[in-house]
């Protein structure tokens, strides 16, 4: 079998994988809200920074 069949199958399979990933992400609502996640990802840091500080002060007080 010629190599061209392998190449075409591989390239087509790859394209189809991307195609189905896109359809699936639309279905799951990934594109319904394109703004909030961009804000949300910034919060994680702040909450993490805050809570360790709190725990440190608390332990200090206890000891």
């Amino acid at each position: 079998m010629s190599v061209i069949y392998v190449l075409i199958t591989v390239s087509l399979a790859l394209a189809l994988v991307f195609f189905f990933i896109f359809i699936k992400s639309v279905k799951s609502g990934q594109f319904d809200d394109t703004y909030t996640p961009s804000v949300r990802m910034l919060f994680d840091d702040e909450v993490k920074n805050k809570s360790p500080k709190k725990s440190i002060t608390k332990t200090k007080l206890n000891s």
Binding site: I8, A15, F19, F22, I23, F31, D33, T36, V39
Partner: protein, 805 residues
């Protein structure tokens, strides 16, 4: 650091900025908690709630992000009723429930943060997620008794009161978003990309041995790529063309579907009989670009709704009194004779008679009139009014569907879809275009028929392929879609692109008065008669502070002096006025009858003041006209017929005549149905294309009947009636510019039509001479589409550059 700066700054000027909501207030009013200043107890309470739960990060993200929480006692009691709750929920089983609530106040990153950390305030909540563009929050919580009521009350207590209305119950299941266009674009784009890739080699190396060996494999792959494009992605064009033909209309989808069908059939025939490689890549590209145009034209304002009716104003449930017991009952289940309890700030859901209580009804939803009306026991109260002063007991005299307000909605105009009767600029050109294309195809086919039959068929199909009006079909969506976005950036929000085409045809403008020409936010308060001393002003303010009457509150905000003294003998006489004694001075504040004793009626709204039975003066309240109205009317009157259509009495007639140019028709005392029929008769008799500007529900009929109905809104998050467009009050005076731009966009479309005709003529030259090779089609079709899109985008941005300042 920032916050301490603010604190020191405010200390210097003896004014404080509320740490929670940012309202500036005086030293005497401030409430201090943990070295932070608050304007009221409400704000302080929110801070304390958040502080106790380690949620003060809320204040770090944005400065003063909060809102004064509203008094909601008892308002959400109906959420204890499982039958009502069930209708609101998105999902429910024994353990968990999911609800999506609309919270109009969501406005900044602090809002998102606090609302997504709700589980730290209420352990029933397992998670919550904000959709910022839609201003909604989706809460997953454990389904216990009263859980939803607690959640809603929690939200309200921290200033994020959700908006729950009758509409939530009715439309809960219909809100699924239609993604089919996106899927179709994905399919067409996928096929387009892959078929370009596969058809490319054959464009250049026709007779190479290696290529010849795999030619048929490539061609059949192209064929299979095009199948989903023709039968799935393009199916709307076929169905629309057939629909149009059945009605006898040659719409733009007719030549498009003809082009697609011919492309597909000819290409298939070519590869079956090995004539050539076909035009499959052009076919997928064509459909892909057309669908992109459709996508671009789609409206994009998630958080605005243009379809609201009275249902979005009405609460879901009211409190019914049976045998001295209160219970929540759904509005649909109300019957004649039911006794209802209406709390402060609640809407009267049904036409009824007042039994008990101090009724101060704001009918601005229904009539547009902002000054509240006082009603006595036994008076009739119409649905749609909002109670402003304390608790009422009323008895329903009709069912909800028979109420005056709801009957307005049974008018046919609300069932009509304006777009159905609308002939777009593209459709009007497509008729001649289609006929011309068919004509050229026949003539050139006929000519070649006598020379070579094979070439004749070749030529006819080539003409139909190349004339497929892709560029024409793209002109309008991209021009109007881009204009829609530009308008939106300038706070003029259109329902869809068709509205721009309608705006370009307008020759008559009608304005509502109250709330449209006047601003509901600012009332002009003027004081007349003998002057008041500073101490007297302070005394009056102190007395006013005790009253909840809307006029008292407006006057209190207007005077804004420090409160010095304590009031003794304070007395509020319902519907008349208030009195009180300060430092042996007896103040009477209220209606003319109450203060002076005369019974003559005044037309305007005023508060009279007397000290120790001696008349001092009066504060009169007037609606303030928006700034720049006069200039705007002078500009408009040159091009349009202008009318002012008001639901009020003609008390303002002289003021308006002074303010506006001479030739404007002023019509007063118009009930909602009068407004509707006025517009209808103008459209029928003098063939006017009317653009109506209004604000309240009272204009809803007129907005629906007019060619373009525009709702004027002080705050676009607050609900406006069903309309074609919403304009932010701050840009109201830009209307002449918007109208001019609408006209210019139509010109842009016409120019781009001209450009696409040039492409068509070039293409037709190749087609009628029988030289249309797949490679020419593959170059010419995308080139024309892309250059048209570029042209209209640049032009629309160019013509709208003046709006920016």
């Amino acid at each position: 650091m920032k916050l301490s700066d603010i604190c020191t700054k405010s200390l210097l000027v003896n004014k404080h900025t509320c740490f929670h909501c940012g309202i500036e207030h005086n030293e005497s009013e401030t409430i201090i908690s943990q070295q932070k200043h608050f304007c009221c107890n409400g704000c302080k309470t929110v801070f304390e709630i958040l502080n106790e739960n380690d949620l003060t990060c809320y204040y770090d993200l944005e400065n003063a992000p909060g809102k004064i929480p509203e008094e909601i006692k008892g308002k959400y009691d109906y959420l204890a009723n499982p039958q009502i709750v069930e209708k609101l929920l998105e999902f429910e089983d024994e353990k968990t429930a999911i609800i999506t609530l609309h919270i109009p106040y969501i406005h900044c990153s602090s809002c998102i943060w606090i609302l997504e950390n709700l589980q730290r305030l209420n352990s029933d909540i397992s998670s919550s997620q904000v959709n910022f563009p839609k201003k909604t929050i989706r809460i997953i919580y454990s389904n216990k008794e009263n859980a939803l009521k607690n959640i809603v009350e929690l939200l309200s207590s921290i200033g994020y009161e959700p908006y729950i209305s009758l509409e939530n119950v009715d439309n809960n299941n219909l809100k699924k978003k239609d993604n089919s266009l996106i899927y179709k674009i994905a399919v067409a784009g996928f096929a387009f990309g892959n078929s370009m890739f596969i058809s490319f080699p054959e464009y250049f190396e026709v007779d190479e041995f290696w290529l010849n060996q795999y030619k048929s494999l490539f061609r059949w792959m192209l064929f299979f790529f095009s199948l989903p494009v023709v039968f799935y992605a393009a199916n709307n064009y076929f169905s629309s063309a057939i629909k149009g033909l059945k009605k006898g209309i040659l719409n733009i989808d007719v030549p498009i579907s003809l082009g697609i069908a011919v492309l597909f059939i000819r290409s298939t025939v070519e590869i079956i009989f090995d004539f050539g490689q076909g035009y499959f890549d052009s076919l997928s590209g064509l459909v892909f670009f057309l669908l992109l145009g459709k996508f671009f034209q789609q409206s994009t304002y998630n958080y605005l709704s243009f379809e609201r009716d009275y249902k979005s104003y009405f609460p879901i449930a009211v409190t019914k009194i049976t045998n001295l017991k209160e219970e929540s009952i759904q509005i649909q289940d109300l019957e004649k004779g039911d006794r209802l309890l209406i709390r402060n700030q609640e809407l009267i859901p049904i036409d009824s008679i007042l039994i008990n209580g101090n009724a101060m009804i704001d009918y601005s939803f229904v009539t547009g009139e902002v000054t509240p009306v006082h009603k006595k026991s036994g008076d009739k109260i119409f649905a749609g009014g909002k109670q402003l002063d304390g608790i009422l007991e009323i008895e329903a005299i009709k069912t909800m569907s028979q109420s005056y307000l709801t009957q307005l909605w049974s008018n046919d105009v609300f069932a009509k879809n304006k777009e159905d009767n609308f002939k777009s600029i593209t459709d009007s050109i497509s008729k001649n275009f289609t006929i011309a294309v068919l004509f050229i195809a026949t003539i050139s086919g006929g000519y070649w028929f006598f020379i070579d039959t094979a070439i004749a068929i070749n030529v006819i199909t080539a003409v139909l392929i190349i004339a497929c009006p892709c560029a024409i079909a793209l002109s309008a969506p991209f021009t109007l879609g881009n204009m829609l976005r530009i308008f939106g950036r300038h706070k003029f929000y259109l329902k869809n692109a068709t509205v721009i085409e309608n705006m370009a045809k307008i020759n008559s403008l009608i304005f509502d008065k109250t709330g449209t020409l006047t601003s509901t936010l600012t009332q002009q308060i003027t004081y007349e008669e003998s002057e008041l001393f500073k101490s007297e002003k302070q005394d009056i303010t102190s007395i006013l502070k005790n009253s909840n009457h809307p006029l008292s509150r407006m006057l209190y905000d207007y005077l804004k002096t420090d409160i010095t003294s304590t009031v003794s003998n304070f007395n509020e006489i319902l519907g008349k006025g208030i009195e009180g004694t300060i430092n042996d001075n007896h103040y009477k504040i209220g209606s003319k009858k109450f203060v002076i004793g005369k019974t003559q009626n005044d037309d305007d709204t005023a508060v009279y003041i007397s000290i120790n039975s001696e008349f001092k003066g009066r504060f009169s309240f007037q609606n303030q006209y928006r700034k720049g109205i006069s200039g705007m009317f002078n500009k408009l009157t040159r091009y349009f017929k202008l009318t002012v259509l008001s639901g009020d009495n003609d008390g303002e007639k002289q003021n308006l005549e002074k303010l506006l140019p001479k030739n404007i028709e002023l019509i007063f005392n118009q009930k909602p149905e009068n407004k509707l029929s006025f517009i209808d008769s103008k459209q029928q008799n003098s063939n006017e294309k009317i653009m109506m500007f209004g604000d309240g529900l009272n204009d809803a009929g007129a907005l629906a009947q007019s060619n373009v109905g525009v709702a004027v809104s002080e705050n676009i998050n607050v609900f406006s009636p069903a309309c074609d467009a919403i304009i932010d009050a701050s840009v109201f005076t830009k209307i002449p510019q918007f109208l001019k731009l609408a006209k210019q966009s139509i010109n842009v479309i016409k120019w781009s039509f001209g450009l696409s005709f040039i492409y068509n003529i070039i293409g037709l030259y190749f087609a009628v001479t029988g030289q249309l090779s797949p490679i020419i089609a593959a170059i010419l079709m995308p080139l024309s589409s892309i250059s048209i899109v570029l042209f209209v985008t640049l032009m629309t941005n160019f013509i709208s550059r003046k709006l920016k300042n």
